[in-house]
């Protein structure tokens, strides 16, 4: 179970981009912490800033047009990542913080064998000799349940199924026992049968190795299945954070509530019923309204929501919400 010490603390993270249409702030004032051994979920609609948040932690934002606000802090075990130089980042990336991306093929090079690619990672991050590196790599493949790992070691990415490839990517990310794993939509492109394998793997990892995981997804089912705590983002801001049980039982932000309600439910009483929807769409970063960013789609909006922007409130019972009228539980 998660411990209470924070491994990573993000404070007031704001990231912007220079674009053809002018500068935009993609995420604003994002603050949260990740604790040892926990799975923290980040959920929200497309474009709400999930990937920008995670790429900031790895400092993998495009160099030519992105900027991190100088007030931002990303503290990882005494290092402020927001201002760290490339040399420091190289010593962290892959070694202490690893990241897996949505599309497994982009992380694997099609012209080299699986073994070669694992070996490169191990060469870079460890001082093992060749024979130990092979043993370590085979053990990693076995740990992610690749059948016949010794044989697969010599195969190319295209010889593996999609699910196996994503598991190889996870094996690569884990080969140096990172303290923090950031998984950006690791199962979105995969079938549920494969997703089940990956989710089980991440759950075991957290239990055995006490690796902390930031899991980014837009699938609330995945969140419900394995996360301990959840951050809900909307239009570049955190609108709610809570432990997973409270969030699903009693969402306090109108957006969270509406998101949960729009999931199709199974069972006779729900069959072919109309789904509650959130009308409208996420506002463009160029046309953010004054006041609350969710106002145009909110069922509880008042004049106050139009006039003033709500702040992410103080923590009450380990929860925070950005709304003037947080919803009461049933």
């Amino acid at each position: 179970m998660p411990k209470s010490e924070a491994l990573l603390t993000v404070k007031n993270l704001s990231v912007g981009f220079h674009t053809d249409k002018g500068d935009v702030t993609a995420i604003e004032g994002v603050s949260f912490e990740v604790r040892v051994g926990e799975i923290l979920g980040i959920v929200g609609e497309s474009g709400c800033g999930k990937s920008v948040t995670s790429r900031s932690i790895m400092r993998l934002l495009p160099k030519f047009n992105s900027f991190i606000d100088p007030q931002s802090e990303i503290n990882f075990e005494g290092i402020n990542i927001a201002r760290a130089d490339e040399k420091t980042m190289r010593s962290l990336r892959g070694d202490r913080i690893a990241m897996i991306f949505q599309e497994p093929m982009t992380a694997l090079n099609p012209v080299f064998t699986i073994g070669w690619q694992l070996d490169e990672a191990l060469k870079y991050h460890t001082s093992l000799d060749r024979r130990d590196r092979i043993e370590r790599a085979v053990a990693m493949l076995k740990a992610v349940e690749i059948p016949n790992p010794r044989q697969r070691y010599y195969e190319y990415p295209h010889q593996l199924s999609g699910g196996m490839r994503q598991r190889v990517v996870i094996a690569m990310a884990l080969c140096c026992d990172p303290e923090l794993l950031i998984a950006d939509e690791p199962t979105t492109a995969l079938d549920v049968t494969i997703q089940a394998q990956i989710l089980r793997l991440m759950d075991e990892l957290r239990k055995k190795a006490e690796t902390a995981v930031i899991l980014i997804t837009h699938d609330l089912g995945v969140i419900a299945q394995i996360c301990d705590r959840v951050i809900v983002m909307y239009a570049g801001q955190i609108v709610e954070t809570a432990d997973v049980h409270s969030l699903f039982k009693n969402p306090q932000h109108p957006y969270t509530k509406a998101l949960l309600e729009s999931i199709p439910q199974t069972g006779r009483e729900h069959h072919q019923t109309r789904l509650p929807t959130i009308e409208g769409i996420v506002p463009s970063l160029f046309e953010l309204p004054e006041g609350c960013r969710f106002q145009d789609r909110c069922a509880y909006k008042t004049q106050e929501c139009v006039d003033r922007e709500p702040q992410l409130g103080e923590e009450i019972n380990h929860r925070k919400v950005r709304c003037f009228f947080p919803l009461e539980g049933s």
């Binding site: 609609e45 549920v192 089940a196 699938d219 299945q225």
Partner: protein, 319 residues
């Protein structure tokens, strides 16, 4: 008489190569499927990536030629018709695609994308085109102010609505929706599903709804086909799928789906074994390599799709 009757439909894709560009092997994409769709029904098709869902859809709507088998629409066999003989049927059967992006011309306003279809099929006289476009847009819930805008100015959900308006423009009786909500966020997915549900009633549509998301199919459809490696393993009524499903593959799909409630967390079902290659489907049951119930008979012989109840057929030796 059912609106559509599909009999022993087969599709093999030849894979060519070598110096002489000979056929080296064949992808067995659809392997002899048979079913019917009644008028007004929504039939779902689920299964993992590559199991043949889209190929099945394209075969029915005659975008692909079948290797064998027959499609009968309102009592008329349409599998071997010439292009001109097919024309009236093309109007009655429309397809909505997963990627609304790809199916709309970026250089054409969304309004003209719809009026083009209306004009081509001469649905209404020229002077009524504009009014008909407005009518369609309000039916699918697209703001009338945006008729003269280009696709890139639209969100995914709005583009999908324009795609639906285009499909509806010719008053089709039958619509194939191939993953129409898969690329959309849940909130937008709910909007589009509601639109489809309303239109179905309003236009008395019959629908084949393809999706890899069992939750969505179960919610939205009357019945579903569960496909695997080009075969139908189960055909089962929706409504109470958890109680009704019999096939071990359908059950595995259900068990692998996370429940959107942390209080009801369950150990997700994980299938061991690999999916066989579509170039060499196994001789017996296609699910043998991953099935928890497998026996010798399963390896030897493909189980027939047997009716267990009204609208419920199962292909399995062991259940």
């Amino acid at each position: 008489m059912p609106l559509l009757e599909i009999k022993n439909l087969v599709k093999h894709f030849p894979v060519r190569g070598g110096l002489l560009n000979r056929v080296l092997k064949k992808v067995h994409a659809v392997n002899g499927v048979s079913f019917t769709i009644e008028k007004g029904e929504i039939l779902g098709v689920v299964g993992e990536s590559g199991c043949g869902k889209s190929t099945l859809g394209k075969l029915i709507i005659q975008l692909l030629d079948a290797t064998a088998g027959e499609v009968t629409f309102k009592g008329r066999a349409i599998t071997h018709l010439t292009a001109s003989e097919l024309l009236p049927f093309r109007r009655q059967m429309q397809m909505i695609f997963q990627d609304p992006h790809a199916s709309l011309n970026p250089r054409m306003t969304v309004g003209s994308a719809v009026s083009e279809v209306l004009a081509f099929h001469k649905v209404v006289p020229r002077q009524e085109l504009a009014a008909k476009v407005r009518e369609l847009f309000s039916q699918v819930g697209v703001n009338l102010d945006s008729i003269d805008r280009y696709p890139h100015e639209f969100s995914g959900g709005q583009k999908q609505r324009v795609g639906i308006a285009r499909a509806l423009a010719v008053n089709p009786e039958f619509i194939i929706a191939d993953e129409p909500v898969s690329a959309l966020d849940v909130s937008i997915q709910a909007q589009v599903l509601n639109v489809l549900m309303d239109l179905k009633d309003e236009f008395d549509l019959t629908m084949l709804f393809i999706s890899h998301d069992l939750k969505v199919v179960d919610h939205f459809c009357d019945r579903m086909l569960v496909m695997y490696l080009g075969f139908i393993l189960e055909e089962v009524p929706c409504q109470d799928i958890h109680a009704d499903a019999l096939h071990p593959y359908t059950k595995a799909l259900l068990g692998a789906n996370p429940v959107s409630d942390p209080e009801k967390r369950h150990e997700l079902t994980v299938l061991e074994g690999e999916v066989p290659s579509p170039f060499h489907p196994p001789q017996g049951c296609p699910f043998v390599t991953r099935c928890p119930l497998v026996t010798e008979q399963c390896h030897a012989e493909m189980p027939p799709l047997v009716e267990r109840a009204v609208g419920h057929r199962v292909a399995c030796w062991e259940v």
